[in-house]
């Protein structure tokens, strides 16, 4: 056992010295490999942490949301539908909600307007950085997110106006401002009383944007959703598990063009590594020949190549993964944010906690290091088995 270990340590010494001798070439391979692993790991960690954020932040999202579809598009839903849903056994509450978007023509930002029946968040609530919610039937008040505060350039003012469909102005007084810690949910949000929402969007009291249904037993969500779809066939019924499933599909790292591009980059790198390893320089071939004349066997030469590739790949993998973690944890995924935010005018920050699972690291290792080893060791085996005298003669 001791002999075996010593042999391998000696071979490792030789392999590392050999790497150092060709440091220019190896350093460039190391940098590119680290970069590819860094990008792939960043995407993987980012998708995982976004999914985790969705799962923790949206765990109390509406149990059932009912929307009306007309000619394949979402339309306002009659409030009377709520009465029919209330008659279903197992339904505890039906809330109507009016919501939509307002486009700020000056800044080009899209603001989400949410109108809810009643709301009370007391002063000093952790969700608010200033003010409070409203009580009872108050109108003309609003809770706004940090992004809206900046977009409307309110500064010290606490009032603003939005256009109705007929271009008359509807004034609001800011009753509270959401805390920055809630930006992931509220950055572009303006929450107003239901009556104000109807007035702002020009909707009558008989309709709402959608209906939120609460059920007595969460295990019956799917059954009640099915019953709603049966009695109201012109509706689309979205359940809480479906919302979470949507996020799972949306944030799957395998989906999306970015993942395809990065996997293609990895494939291109592996092909390059194969190409480099199969086209050995005359100096490398001479080195192998000399080693074989000195008594080294083909497996020994192969072992040197394996250790060279493995040492380089292992360090590149470790550094690439650590950098990816830092990219997500400390730099809010700066490189991907530009793509993620796209043409958004309101740009919420991403204060993410990276989620690193052992299974992801194994997956990353299998996707990057193993193909790299195969791509470098197999051509090296072909070169190591060349006739010694022909290689020395050049």
């Amino acid at each position: 056992m001791k002999e075996f270990l010593e042999k391998h340590i000696n071979i490792l010494d030789y392999a590392l010295a050999s790497l150092w001798r060709r440091k220019g070439k190896n350093f460039s391979v190391f940098c590119v490999f680290t970069l590819v692993i860094f990008l792939l790991a960043s995407l993987l960690f980012l998708s995982r942490s976004l999914l985790q954020t969705a799962e923790t932040s949206l765990r109390l999202t509406p149990e059932i949301t009912v929307q009306r579809l007309v000619a394949g598009r979402q339309e306002s839903i009659p409030v009377a539908y709520g009465e029919r849903i209330r008659t279903l056994f197992g339904v505890s509450k039906v809330r109507e909600r009016v919501w939509g978007y307002k486009f700020n023509e000056i800044t080009g930002a899209n603001i989400t307007i949410m109108a809810v029946p009643h709301l009370f968040l007391e002063e000093g609530h952790d969700a608010l950085t200033e003010g409070a919610g409203w009580k009872g039937d108050e109108v003309g008040v609003a809770l706004i997110g940090q992004g809206v505060l900046q977009d409307l350039d309110l500064g010290g003012r606490r009032s603003f106006s939005l256009f109705r469909p007929d271009l008359t102005l509807k004034p609001f007084v800011v009753s509270g401002i959401f805390a920055p810690e809630t930006n992931i949910l509220t950055y572009d949000l303006v929450v107003i009383p239901l009556a104000d929402g109807r007035d702002l969007f020009g909707l009558g009291p008989e309709v709402a944007t959608d209906l939120l249904v609460e059920v007595v037993n969460p295990l019956e969500i799917a059954i009640i959703a099915g019953k709603i779809a049966d009695i109201l066939p012109d509706t689309r019924v979205v359940t809480r598990p479906q919302i979470l499933k949507t996020y799972k599909a949306v944030f799957s790292w395998r989906s999306g063009f970015a993942a395809i591009s990065l996997l293609s980059a990895l494939a291109a790198f592996i092909i390059l590594a194969w190409d480099k390893a199969s086209g050995m320089s005359p100096a490398e071939r001479r080195e192998i020949s000399i080693l074989k004349i000195l008594g080294w066997q083909t497996p020994d030469v192969l072992m040197v190549r394996f250790w060279e590739s493995f040492a380089l790949a292992l360090v590149a993998f470790a550094i690439g993964t650590i950098l990816a973690y830092a990219h997500i944890a400390f730099f809010q995924a700066t490189l991907f944010r530009a793509v993620m935010l796209g043409w958004s005018v309101l740009r919420p920050g991403l204060d993410l906690v990276p989620v690193v699972r052992a299974a992801d690291l194994v997956l990353l290792f299998s996707l990057s290091v193993l193909p790299f080893l195969a791509a470098t060791v197999i051509p090296a085996w072909r070169c190591a088995s060349v006739a010694t005298d022909s290689a020395l003669r050049g």
């Binding site: 590392l16 109390l60 609530h125 952790d126 479906q242 949306v250 989906s255 063009f257 740009r347 919420p348």
Partner: protein, 96 residues
């Protein structure tokens, strides 16, 4: 030769140990951050329950990227027949 007095394999082992220590330190930090985020979950629960919020505010460029969970399935492709989804954030994840 390597510009150090120790054997290359020892230098390599030392490098691996250093990287492992850094990984453990980041793991510890990660746990601390996750623990610090726990009280925030209750705040998010209040907001999602009270307002019926169904989506994360990650990108605000299009309504289907702002609210993927409650948007029309056809929203990304409804500009004209055969239109492709073209918002930059669409390349990052699959359309709903």
């Amino acid at each position: 030769m390597l510009p150090c007095l120790m054997r290359p394999s020892r230098f390599f082992a030392a490098l691996l140990v250093a990287l492992m220590a850094l990984t453990l330190f980041l793991g510890y930090q990660d746990r601390q951050r996750a623990r610090a985020a726990i009280p925030l979950h209750a705040v998010h629960d209040v907001l999602t329950r009270e307002f019926g919020l169904s989506d994360l505010c990650l990108t605000t460029e299009a309504r289907y990227t702002r609210h993927p969970a409650v948007s029309d399935d056809l929203a990304p492709f409804m500009d004209y027949p055969g239109a492709l989804e073209y918002f930059p954030s669409g390349m990052f994840w699959a359309p709903p």
